[in-house]
């Protein structure tokens, strides 16, 4: 357990000025509003405050030194945490917070905005209050999520919004429509409307980042002899060559039929997994042919399989 001197990084013989200086320096460094989202810094900040409470003034320090109560620092930190159950300022400043919302529509001229209305005011009267943001969900098809599309939605107030769905979006992507939320009070700006996209899963395709995966059933004959089969892609069918004697789990690639990668500007690929549909094994002629083939071409398929080495090697 650290002593308050250790927490503040000063020696037990430090002068009151040195302690004060160390405390101020650490409090500035670890203040939660300067380190948003860092839990450990918040704890450290509380610890620093707790240490300062114990040795920050000559009287408190004397008491502490006399009692040599190392345990008090932890107790005090716990008390701090209890006292400070309310959030730090940065924790209240997410999207939709009232104080930073005034700058939501802030454009390129940031400095003019900074220095206008700085005399404690915020460039508007206290009766002005920005409108609230509105949140909506829009269900879109898998195809629209991959290729993009345009649609129109009607907001509860009857206002229509033209929504352009960019190619390659995933469920949870949000589109922002500035000024389409609730009206602001007084001269304040209206809130924004946010449309969260919910993608309906496809029965055919599985998205793997920027590739699209699809299973294609093939017959035993097609698997053995190879074939050309029509394969659906996200934007139409293509004729694809299935190679003779492909191995189980193979992924055949159709380049450029996947999802647009916004970083590279290129599309991913479509991956085709052929799945062999074995016929009902009742045909005597087929069985006879396989038996004859087996005699000619015996296969040791489990020779290299770890399962055949010994019972203990699991």
């Amino acid at each position: 357990m650290k002593t308050p001197y250790e927490v503040l990084g000063v020696s037990p013989t430090a002068t009151p000025e040195e302690i004060k200086l160390a405390y101020r320096s650490l409090a500035k460094k670890f203040h939660p509003d300067i380190n948003p989202g860092k839990k450990d810094t918040e704890l450290r900040f509380k610890e620093i405050n707790a240490a300062n409470e114990l040795i920050g003034t000559p009287e408190q320090r004397q008491k502490y030194d006399e009692a040599e109560a190392n345990a008090k620092i932890e107790q005090s930190a716990r008390a701090q945490a209890r006292n400070r159950s309310d959030p730090y300022y940065q924790q209240t400043q997410g999207s939709g917070s009232r104080y930073n919302e005034a700058f939501e529509g802030m454009d390129e001229d940031m400095f003019r905005s900074i220095f206008s209305g700085m005399g404690g005011g915020f460039g508007r009267s206290s009766g002005d209050r920005p409108g609230e943001d509105a949140f909506y969900k829009l269900e879109i098809s898998f195809k629209d999520s991959i290729l993009g599309s345009e649609t129109e939605i009607t907001l509860p107030g009857g206002k229509k919004l033209s929504v352009k769905i960019p190619a390659g979006v995933v469920s949870g992507s949000k589109l922002r429509f500035a000024g389409h939320g609730s009206k602001g009070a007084g001269k304040a700006a209206a809130g924004n409307a946010y449309v969260e996209l919910v993608v309906t899963p496809s029965k055919l395709f599985r998205r793997k980042e920027f590739d699209l995966e699809i299973d294609v059933p093939v017959s035993l004959a097609e698997a053995v002899l190879g074939a050309e089969v029509k394969v659906p892609t996200i934007d139409g069918q293509v004729l694809m060559k299935i190679p003779a004697g492909f191995t189980e789990g193979v992924r055949l690639r159709i380049p450029g039929k996947g999802v647009l990668n916004p970083a590279s500007g290129k599309k991913g690929d479509q991956l085709v997994l052929p799945k062999v549909n074995f016929p009902a094994m009742t045909d005597e002629e087929f069985k006879k042919a396989v038996r004859a083939w087996q005699i000619r071409q015996p296969q040791e398929v489990r020779a290299a399989w770890p399962g055949s080495q010994s019972e203990s090697s699991t």
Partner: protein, 100 residues
């Protein structure tokens, strides 16, 4: 999904922050905080009061610098929210708009 914050009566805020009503009223007059009403604040207002206290007590900020700091912090948080929002959306939007 709209955020609603718990409102807190001024008497409770006096206990939480250790400030008297007159000081809180002064913060309101100076527009350092802008509550819904003078005696009903929310968590965001309380957090802002505590930030002002920290600025004054731990950072030695004087009364003239408080509004400047608050103003800059508000802009910073607004920008941070905007950037995090655009990070999520706009890589797609920009490309889509660029192509059309």
């Amino acid at each position: 999904m709209t955020r609603t914050l718990k409102t807190i009566h001024i008497t409770e805020i006096e206990i939480i922050t250790g400030l008297d009503r007159e000081t809180i009223a002064l913060f309101i007059t100076r527009e350092w905080i802008r509550p819904y009403s003078d005696d009903l604040l929310d968590e965001e207002d309380v957090a802002r009061i505590r930030l002002i206290q920290d600025l004054k007590n731990q950072f030695n900020a004087n009364d003239d610098s408080i509004p400047i700091i608050l103003h800059l912090m508000d802009q910073l948080y607004a920008l941070r929210n905007r950037v995090s929002c655009e990070d999520e959306i706009n890589p797609f939007l920009r490309l889509s708009q660029g192509k059309n």
